[in-house]
Symmetry: C2
Subunit: 238 residues, 2 copies
Amino acid sequence: MPEQAETLRRTPLSRDRILRAAVALADGAGIESLSMRNLAQELGVVPMALYKHVANKDELLDGMIDVVVGEIDPPEPDVDWKNAVRRRILSARQVLRRHPWAPLAIESRNMATPAILAYLNSMVGTFRAGGFSADLAHHVMHAMGSRILGFSQELFDASRRAGRSGATDPEPPAPLPPEIAARFPHLAEIAMAASHDDASVVGQGCDDQFEFEFALDLLLDGIERLRQQGWTSSHRPR
Amino acid sequence: MPEQAETLRRTPLSRDRILRAAVALADGAGIESLSMRNLAQELGVVPMALYKHVANKDELLDGMIDVVVGEIDPPEPDVDWKNAVRRRILSARQVLRRHPWAPLAIESRNMATPAILAYLNSMVGTFRAGGFSADLAHHVMHAMGSRILGFSQELFDASRRAGRSGATDPEPPAPLPPEIAARFPHLAEIAMAASHDDASVVGQGCDDQFEFEFALDLLLDGIERLRQQGWTSSHRPR
DNA sequence: ACCTGAACACCGTTCAAGT
DNA sequence: ACCTGAACACCGTTCAAGT
């Protein structure tokens, strides 16, 4: 049936189609399933065909990162710096939640991609427009670190688990085993202490969104204080 | 020469000797050079011999992480919570600088190792002894995130580059190319603004230690303020 | 000129054969 | 019983042969 074969080969291969398929594969099956060979098969193509559009796997990853970063909302106009930064970072966080493989991928690549540079540049612009000196803006960007891209920076992030089931896996938070609780009593205590008065969380397990915003506001409030004080790196008023 | 062969086989293989050799290999040649086969060769042993002491490569990585975390200084007694936390985290940071592969390795493993749990437990203990409620201590631990282990959490960390030359590579900070500076003027501006009055830094490039302590103190100062206010998650005084 | 199958140099790990 | 060589099922990428 030659017509069916025609249909299978679909649209011709392009860099864009490769990147989108790679992102979809990493989203759905986990980043560890993303091999040049698997990706080619997904596209109904021989592995070597990919190399016409991406130089190698590292460049593929860079392209995937740019696709993800491109999903972050553009800055809103006419908003004070603090809300502008806050909303943009929370948008970045929503994007990363759709692509749980992205944080590790971004951290393991050590060159900034064009889309990331554009995002960072625009974020610095928001600080500068908000009255920050270039000096303070510099240190503030460092202080935000990868949180500026929505990374929750947890030591152990359940959402990062590269399970094959992707979004279909609710993964109930495992209550920590009794022998662990006995050996590490302080950890057991704070595990129980989380939002016990919040009906939406049953006590075990954390509200990721709450924790992210808690840390974000802690930083933004401290940053606002420095700005008001006219902080400089050579002379720190206290 | 049978005696020389005897010498070559040295001390008998043990889990500890494997872990130390693995850490040394990752430190010296980069984490990408750490394969079961390479490690075995380094130890003058057939690859399969390793599997008598570690179940698989993931368990090897967990063991390496525990070796690294074990190098962090124990908590000092008779110090106020803020200085206790600060010094311990700066110690962790020094450790990570000796093992640049460790941050990514820790983040890619998603189970806490015993050594990490002990470290975190002890850190929570310091907060609790300093007068923090279990509730606030919980959120504070989340807010510190992986910074609590000394991660600098930069988006692009030159020190993380897994170069083969290890510590022998000073790697002068590349001044950002003019066409990048033109496309991202805000980034160019803050790149120049860094510690221009500090003689030890030539203008280009950042003082990692300064940036780390800047962010750390920003967090610790904000945390101290919450503690003084008697912050709780159900009722936030402002 | 373009495309692509086979090949190369690696992986982690299984397994059966050897001692 | 222990140890280990060969084998298996993968990688990313090169390269030469085919169209």
